[in-house]
């Protein structure tokens, strides 16, 4: 079971022209324990925000200082338009959730929870992909290490692979890292 999310003490930045929309959003954010600021100026990369809500009807490139891949905080798009270009803009910014305008009070908490979860999941996924890419990149070294072990010990591929795995487990390295270190120190190839 996922814990009920708490936003207490977090900072929400609402990038939208002041008016009924920002009033409603600020009210609901404050009820959720967030500190909320509404303004219609670009977000700077150095600013410390926990969640961003952005007007996708009038937003322009450069309003947000990041690309979706490096987006540091959950992003909620605020959208009245159905125009494909505006939906595409929201997606291009990396929007994790959507609140339709005019804003209904009951839409805010679900969107913040969904954006927060989606953002966290995307982050974990990106980290996992980076780890896997690293392993794929180093895979040839595993083959090289297995061949070296076979030659040094006169054993077959299965046994060589088994030795490498044991070595990796004992030294708490990934198979790829163990292969790199083994190839780097010939002393560890035999035995």
């Amino acid at each position: 079971m996922k814990e009920t999310l708490s936003f207490l003490g977090q900072r929400a930045l609402i990038l939208h022209r002041a008016g009924e929309t920002t009033n409603r959003l600020v009210r609901q954010c404050v009820l959720l324990g967030l500190r909320a600021e509404a303004r219609w100026r670009p977000l700077r990369a150095v600013e410390d925000v926990d969640i961003v809500l952005v007007d996708a009807d009038e937003g322009w490139d450069g309003l947000l200082p990041w690309t979706p891949a490096e987006k540091p905080a959950p992003l909620v798009a605020l959208l009245a338009s159905e125009a494909p270009g505006r939906i595409a803009w929201a997606l291009d910014q990396g929007a994790d959730a959507l609140i339709a305008k005019p804003v209904s009070a009951s839409a805010v908490y679900p969107a913040l929870v969904m954006a927060t979860r989606r953002h966290a999941e995307a982050r974990q996924l990106n980290e996992r992909i980076a780890r896997l890419e690293e392993r794929v990149r180093l895979r040839p070294l595993v083959h090289a290490a297995v061949r070296t072990l076979m030659a040094a010990n006169g054993c077959d591929e299965n046994e060589a692979y088994g030795r490498l795995r044991r070595e990796a487990m004992q030294t708490r390295l990934t198979l790829e890292q163990a292969a790199v270190s083994m190839l780097a120190s010939p002393r560890r190839q035999a035995g």
């Binding site: 079971m1 009920t4 409603r24 009820l31 324990g33 009070a105």
Partner: protein, 381 residues
């Protein structure tokens, strides 16, 4: 003279009609009492959606469009409230919601005078876990009230290092409680939280009484059934003595000893007979109508936005104690009472003064560990 056309929209027939009848009767008593006694002329419009979502929406629309109301006292279940809210928003009207609910809502067009979890479930579990133990069984109605109350109970119990030994939800109206009872009998929880409604709950309480007769470990003193929505109005239907000893949390019980409550009870007896008890549904609806009328009187208009603004700083005395709405959340500050069923009444075991509502539980702390001091608790009997 300012006139106030007041929509009274409760399901007084259907599966949970008994709750709606108490809500309606509480509103009616308040209106009769205020008629001629204040500077507002009140014209109530009573409607019964009979528990149907579609009827709730139709009748809310009718009340706001055709009957000329801008205020609706109404909705019993959360489903009904969610059905009515879009209609109320569209007409810039105010819905006054008087029933306990599961929280996680704070709509600008709704005034909430029923308790939310920091006013019922949290203090209830702060009491139950240290006294009875941390192995809990959860039984609920298969809709949002049951789901969310069970979910929150699970969070509280898990955080306190306890264990949910079983959980089961029954469709509203379903009385097939055998499986729940056999699970309870086999898993032997320290207590049971029931978020079931109406007939399901009544059948369950009868089955628990029978189980307690077969095995004293399931007597209410040792393994009570607790709930946040069982009130006096259901006891006659359940049958007196069937649920004796079981516990419930509420912001009001008929047995509350206060001048304002004695006055209310005298009216209830005069209007409905001395057998009739006022439940928290009844008293909250009564107090809410009085608060609404007071705010309209102060404004000199029933304009919903002005009335809502007038609630800030307003405190009306009544059977729940002074009723105040927190302007940040539109929720009432409410006291917590723990009652034990005894015949047609609840004996009040504990009470806490009115607490500000925290509908999104942003100020929630873990519940107290066993045997910790709880200085805010006051034993009244």
């Amino acid at each position: 003279m300012t006139s106030l056309r007041l929509g009274i929209l409760f399901s007084t027939s259907g599966d949970y009609g008994v709750l709606g009848r108490d809500c309606r009767d509480g509103a009616m008593i308040a209106i009769e009492e205020l008629r001629g006694a204040c500077s507002v002329s009140i014209e109530p419009v009573f409607r019964d959606p009979a528990g149907s979502s579609e009827r709730y929406i139709q009748l809310a629309r009718q009340i706001l469009q055709e009957d000329g109301c801008r205020h609706v006292i109404g909705a019993v279940t959360s489903q009904a409230r969610k059905d009515v809210i879009p209609v109320v928003e569209k007409h810039d009207a105010l819905l006054w919601y008087v029933c306990p609910y599961e929280g996680f809502e704070a709509n600008p067009n709704v005034i909430y005078t029923g308790a939310c979890p920091n006013q019922h479930l949290l203090p209830l579990f702060e009491h139950m876990l240290p006294v009875y133990g941390r192995r809990v069984y959860l039984a609920g109605a298969n809709y949002i009230w049951g789901w969310e109350m069970n979910r929150l109970a699970r969070e509280i119990v898990t955080e306190a290092g306890g264990e949910i030994v079983g959980e089961r939800c029954l469709p509203i109206g379903d009385t097939d409680v055998e499986r729940i009872v056999s699970e309870v009998a086999a898993r032997r929880p320290d207590f049971i939280l029931s978020n079931m409604l109406g007939p399901s709950n009544h059948t369950f309480l009868r089955a628990m009484r029978d189980l307690g007769r077969r095995d004293p470990a399931f007597h209410p003193e040792r393994c009570p059934v607790v709930s946040c929505d069982l009130t006096e109005c259901e006891l006659p239907e359940i049958g007196f003595d069937v649920a004796d000893g079981q516990l419930a949390a509420a912001s009001y019980f008929d047995s509350l000893d206060s001048a304002a409550n004695r006055a209310l009870k005298a009216q209830v007896a005069a209007r409905f007979g001395s057998e009739r008890r006022a439940s928290s549904y009844f008293a909250t609806s009564y107090a809410t109508v009085r608060l609404c009328v007071e705010a309209v009187t102060r404004c000199g208009t029933d304009d919903p936005i002005k009335v809502r603004s007038a609630l800030a700083g307003l405190e009306t005395p009544g059977p729940l104690g002074p009723l105040r709405i927190d302007p940040a959340t539109n929720h009432a500050d409410l006291p917590f009472l723990l009652g034990r069923i005894s015949g047609p009444d609840f004996v009040i075991l504990q009470s806490r003064p009115a607490a500000v509502a925290d509908p999104y539980l942003i100020r929630r702390r873990s519940v107290a560990q066993p045997h910790s001091a709880q200085p805010q608790l006051r034993v009244v009997s």
